[in-house]
């Protein structure tokens, strides 16, 4: 993707004395991880297409602290949280959208206690909102008739009971939606949460992502759709473990939509 994206920072907005509609919280993965960066770009393509007046924090954004908190480091978490809250509050941010369910959960649920009160939406919810309000229309047929199975991210699904938005959005691509046997509330984790992403797994007889991709492959999909950069990495690796990387794609909802507009 080398399309020119239009992205303004909060600093630029402030310098012009303007306020964006919404802040796009990119998150650490979306900023640095090669695979996740593509998801950030796809989402911005959607935002540009729908003429959303959005901002990013750029160099002023810092890790939400979610992963530190779940690793047990409450100090580091609260330091990060308070730093971020200071910046968000200074810019008087009201509404935040993010592609990362972990950032979504932490900012939405754990920041308010520490003085950060914002309306936070996941990018799949926001895309749905854009479609419903007529700002975005999906005309492309890139995925028409393709079998897509959606893997619920724990921190979007079970943790925050958001199950329908990603499915509704995917439906618009005219793909054939297939559900894994364990889905929504009983979906199996991809194995990345709780700081597992950053360490080797404990001794066992299988890796969790391999088990979860097995669930997905049982639906005989063309595409495994994800809504979290970490799930994406895990499922992509899982597909490789099953030697299915040539026949099954792992794509974020944002990418699927960006390719359909």
């Amino acid at each position: 993707m080398s399309e020119k994206l239009s992205v303004k920072t909060m600093e630029q907005f402030a310098a012009q004395g303007e306020k964006p509609e919404i802040l796009f919280w990119v998150g650490s993965a979306g900023s640095y991880d090669d695979r996740a960066k593509k998801i950030s770009r796809a989402f911005v393509k959607i935002l540009n297409k729908a003429n959303v007046d959005f901002a990013v924090l750029g160099a002023e954004e810092s890790c939400t602290g979610d992963v530190a908190k779940r690793a047990g480091n409450e100090f580091l978490f609260q330091m990060q949280a308070m730093m971020n809250i200071e910046i968000l509050n200074a810019y008087e941010i009201k509404r935040i959208v993010t592609c990362d369910p972990h950032s979504f959960n932490t900012i939405k649920n754990e920041y308010p206690d520490l003085g950060g009160n914002y309306e936070v939406v996941h990018h799949t919810q926001y895309i749905k909102e854009l479609i419903d309000s007529g700002r975005l229309s999906i005309e492309g047929e890139a995925y028409k008739g393709k079998r897509i199975t959606f893997h619920d991210p724990c921190y979007l699904g079970r943790a925050n009971s958001i199950f329908d938005a990603p499915r509704n959005v995917l439906q618009k691509t005219n793909a054939i939606m297939v559900e894994m046997e364990r889905n929504k509330k009983t979906a199996l984790c991809c194995g990345a949460g709780g700081a597992q992403m950053f360490k080797e797994p404990e001794k066992g007889d299988m890796d969790i992502n391999v088990l979860r991709t097995k669930d997905a492959l049982e639906t005989n999909p063309n595409i495994i759709a994800t809504g979290c950069p970490y799930c994406n990495t895990m499922m992509t690796d899982g597909i490789k473990a099953h030697q299915k990387e040539d026949t099954v794609d792992v794509l974020d909802v944002a990418e699927l939509i960006a390719n359909s507009i």
């Binding site: 994206l5 992205v7 920072t9 990119v26 650490s28 900023s31 640095y32 991880d33 960066k37 950030s40 770009r41 924090l57 750029g58 160099a59 954004e61 810092s62 890790c63 602290g65 530190a68 908190k69 779940r70 690793a71 047990g72 480091n73 409450e74 100090f75 580091l76 609260q78 330091m79 308070m82 730093m83 649920n109 754990e110 206690d113 520490l114 724990c154 921190y155 079970r158 943790a159 925050n160 509330k185 009983t186 199996l188 984790c189 194995g191 990345a192 949460g193 709780g194 700081a195 597992q196 950053f198 360490k199 797994p201 404990e202 001794k203 066992g204 299988m206 890796d207 969790i208 088990l211």
Partner: protein
């Protein structure tokens, strides 16, 4: 002489209930070792959860077969206990079937008790088969070896015996009614025990009375024993499921609490006007311990969780770590917490109610670091639990202790955390490069 039965009954009742009250006091003392948490919020929702989850068993039926059986045993247990009320009155006053005057209603009640008793027998047999013949995976995990396995079966045997005694008692009674024995007025309907009654054909009134009385006494003594067995068993959940679902988590599952003690320190650190070299206040008490290494560091709700756990293993069977052969089992986390709490309680009993350090703790002696680090914080265990237990909260509390008190995180996690400290990201990239993705 004629009051001897009544007196014996009153003694049995007093001893049984007295002992039970003693155990409940101990239970409450042990739970109070935990930290207080504010659970005064949103009472309507809490009552609703209790009604739905504990009374309505909504989470049980997620697994339909086990759920249906469980509802039968549960409804049977509750309803048949109305009969116990009659037994107690009869026992104390020396009456026989004191509610018989209710007439048709009484016939209906006894009839439905019998049908329920029969269904309970069927369900209990199926439960036993699932545990011992089919050997469902979740019942044969390592943490179930020894007492937990025995406990599970013992409960089934006791229930079976109680139902059997109840039906025998009724069958003998029916036979006595048919023979027109004195005291045994015609009352009740016996849809199930009518099939047992023929076994007593030809017996004399006096032997029938002996059978009926023995069954009656064993039934009520059995119930009193069962009541006192609860405290030592996973069967405690029949009582604690109610408070536990009331105190269960109301926030979104993904939300962890923020440690207040940490907030204070972080605010101080970030406050530009605070003097970093200021001498600590004279009266500083012991710095608060972060996280949990033993049961006293957990909250009262977490300790109540531990006593409520039914050891059903639904949590463990949904746990991604456990499914992939890791040591972690959320059920074991709960069982360990209860075992350790019991151990602490016994120590207190020995030391006149005070806890003296016994050189042991929950972390290390019961729960290993390896188990704690295998958790993905996915909340599958929390979702699966039929009685609103939150094993994840204990895991996080113990990780907090490992990291903040002992700096004992795995090396890769320490690297990740120092990256966050230095660059504001879990990877070693420069914060100034955060926006590079736009032009790549």
């Amino acid at each position: 002489m004629e009051y001897i039965a009544n007196i014996l009954f009153a003694i049995a009742l007093t001893v049984g209930i007295g002992f039970f009250a003693r155990n409940i006091r101990k239970l409450s003392r042990n739970i109070k070792l935990g930290k207080t948490v504010d659970t005064t919020d949103n009472k309507p929702q809490r009552w609703k959860n209790m009604a739905r989850i504990a009374l309505g068993q909504t989470k049980m039926v997620v697994r339909p077969i086990a759920g249906l059986m469980h509802i039968i045993v549960y409804v049977g247990f509750v309803i048949i206990n109305i009969e116990v009320l009659e037994i107690i009155i009869d026992g104390l006053l020396g009456t026989h079937r004191v509610f018989a005057s209710l007439g048709t209603l009484y016939d209906f009640l006894i009839g439905s008790f019998e049908i329920l008793a029969f269904l309970v027998v069927v369900a209990v047999v199926i439960f036993w088969v699932r545990r011992n013949i089919i050997k469902l995976k979740r019942f044969i995990k390592p943490e179930m070896e020894g007492w937990p396995k025995k406990d599970g079966n013992l409960i089934l045997y006791i229930e079976l015996i109680l139902m059997f005694l109840f039906l025998t008692m009724n069958a003998a009674d029916l036979q006595l009614q048919t023979l027109g024995a004195e005291h045994y007025t015609k009352a009740g309907s016996f849809p199930i025990s009518q099939f047992i009654a023929p076994l007593f054909e030809g017996m004399s009134v006096s032997s029938l009375i002996i059978i009926e009385r023995i069954a009656w006494w064993l039934h009520i003594i059995g119930i009193l024993c069962f009541l006192n067995y609860l405290y030592y068993s996973k069967h405690l959940h029949i009582l604690l499921a109610f408070p536990n679902t009331y105190y269960g988590k109301l926030k979104p599952q993904g939300q962890l609490d923020n440690l207040e003690a940490v907030t204070k320190e972080v605010k101080l650190m970030m406050d530009p006007s605070a003097d970093p070299f200021a001498a600590p206040a004279e009266d500083t008490v012991d710095p608060e311990k972060f996280g949990a290494s033993d049961v006293m560091d957990l909250s009262r709700v977490q300790l109540l969780n531990a006593y409520t756990c039914t050891e059903c293993g639904r949590c463990t069977s949904e746990c991604p770590a456990n499914q992939t052969g890791k040591k972690l089992s959320p059920r074991k986390i709960m069982m360990d917490t209860r075992d350790r709490l019991e151990e602490v309680g016994k120590h207190m009993d020995k030391n006149k109610g005070k806890f003296v350090d016994d050189g042991k703790q929950l972390l290390g002696d019961y729960i290993s670091n390896e188990e704690l680090w295998a958790c993905t914080t996915c909340n599958a265990c929390v979702e699966a639990c039929p009685v609103s237990i939150d094993p994840l909260s204990i895991i996080i509390e113990m990780r907090r202790y490992l990291v903040m008190e002992q700096s004992a995180a795995p090396m890769e996690l320490n690297n990740m955390m120092s990256n966050i400290e230095n660059n504001g990201a879990p990877w070693p990239y420069n914060q100034q490069d955060r926006l590079n993705w736009v032009n790549e």
